[in-house]
């Protein structure tokens, strides 16, 4: 090794200054030794860059233990956060898929809509039932009598009813106009009155004809009611839907 000499700053064998000596040694000389040295210097530069590159690109093996522990901790926390986020996103995805794919819910909603339509009178209904015809030439039938008949039919399980051309729903009212006509939901009714009720025909017919019931009462008044059961009747009168003004759905 070339550096085992004693440290003598002023040792200038040829009497030249350091700069001159360095300059002289640095002059290009085409010797074999100079070529070797150049190759070695090149190798050194190459190795230095390679090592620097390696150190920069290599990550964890050069770190100290505390750094590694801190790094592990932060990575763990981030992983926890990300897995929570992944859970949330998975749940959202499942919900969306359920919402999209649930044909059963759509069918159920449609069926419910039809049921409610029949109850509210917005849809025509068909099925077995009875037809009650009340001939009233003398005009003795009062609104209360019609109401009694309707209530009796409801008790007997009528699901859809109409009187003449008026659909009977929960809010239907019966009244008497100033000139003695029967009025249902604001529409004047002309005798003979025809009530069509869809439900179990036998039950409803029996309910009408019990002693002291609707038929008896009407006969005592002087009207002549007749009941006819049928396997297929159509309730075709419809009722317009009006949105409630004061009541709102109360979803829990």
């Amino acid at each position: 090794m070339p550096d085992d000499e004693p440290l003598e700053p002023e040792a200038h064998p040829a009497g030249r200054t350091g700069w001159e000596r360095l300059w002289r040694a640095g002059r290009p000389r085409l010797t074999r030794a100079n070529a070797y040295i150049t190759v070695l210097a090149m190798l050194l530069g190459f190795a230095m860059v390679a090592q620097v590159h390696e150190t920069r690109s290599s990550g964890l093996e050069n770190l100290r233990q505390e750094d590694l522990v801190a790094l592990l901790d932060s990575v763990n926390q981030q992983s926890l956060k990300l897995s929570k986020e992944a859970d949330n996103l998975t749940a959202t995805k499942r919900k969306l898929q359920d919402d999209n794919g649930d044909q059963a819910a759509l069918k159920a909603a449609t069926a419910r809509l039809q049921t409610l339509g029949i109850l509210a009178g917005t849809l025509p209904a068909t099925g077995p039932g009875i037809r009650i015809t009340v001939k009233d030439r003398k005009g003795v039938v009062k609104p209360s009598d019609v109401l009694n008949a309707v209530e009796e039919l409801r008790d007997a399980g009528a699901e859809a009813m109409q009187i003449n051309d008026v659909r009977i729903v929960a809010s239907t009212y019966f009244a008497e106009s100033t000139d003695g006509e029967l009025v249902a939901d604001g529409t004047a009714l002309q005798a003979p009155y025809t009530i069509i009720a869809i439900g179990d025909p036998h039950t409803m017919a029996t309910a009408m004809e019990i002693p002291g019931g609707v038929v008896d009462a009407l006969k005592q008044l002087g009207a002549s009611p007749s009941i006819r059961s049928s396997e297929r009747l159509d309730v075709t009168a419809l009722r317009a839907v009006s949105a409630p003004r004061y009541a709102h759905p109360d979803n829990p």
Partner: protein
Amino acid sequence: MIPAIGLVVGLVIGIVVHPDVPLSLQPYLPIAVIAALDAVFGAVRAVLDGIFDDKVFVVSFLSNVVVAALIVYLGDQLGVGSQLSTGVVVVLGVRIFSNVAAIRRHLFHA
């Protein structure tokens, strides 16, 4: 002059090529680079002392590199690789500093 140009050329080649150090060489390369640097500073000092010899430089450069790598290898085999690496780096660092001090005295007389 030419060796300095060679050093720069080596640096440029390294930057351009972006070499990947083989795994088997990874523990030894940093020590070898330090040892080579030690040889280079020793050579500059020898030039200033007027005792530079081409052959001595080539041999010292190569032997520095080989011995440094050998010490690290031996340390790895004995299970004290990292400690021995640290020791070699300390020794070489001290030598580099003393060489640089001598160079400084030659060039700046301070």
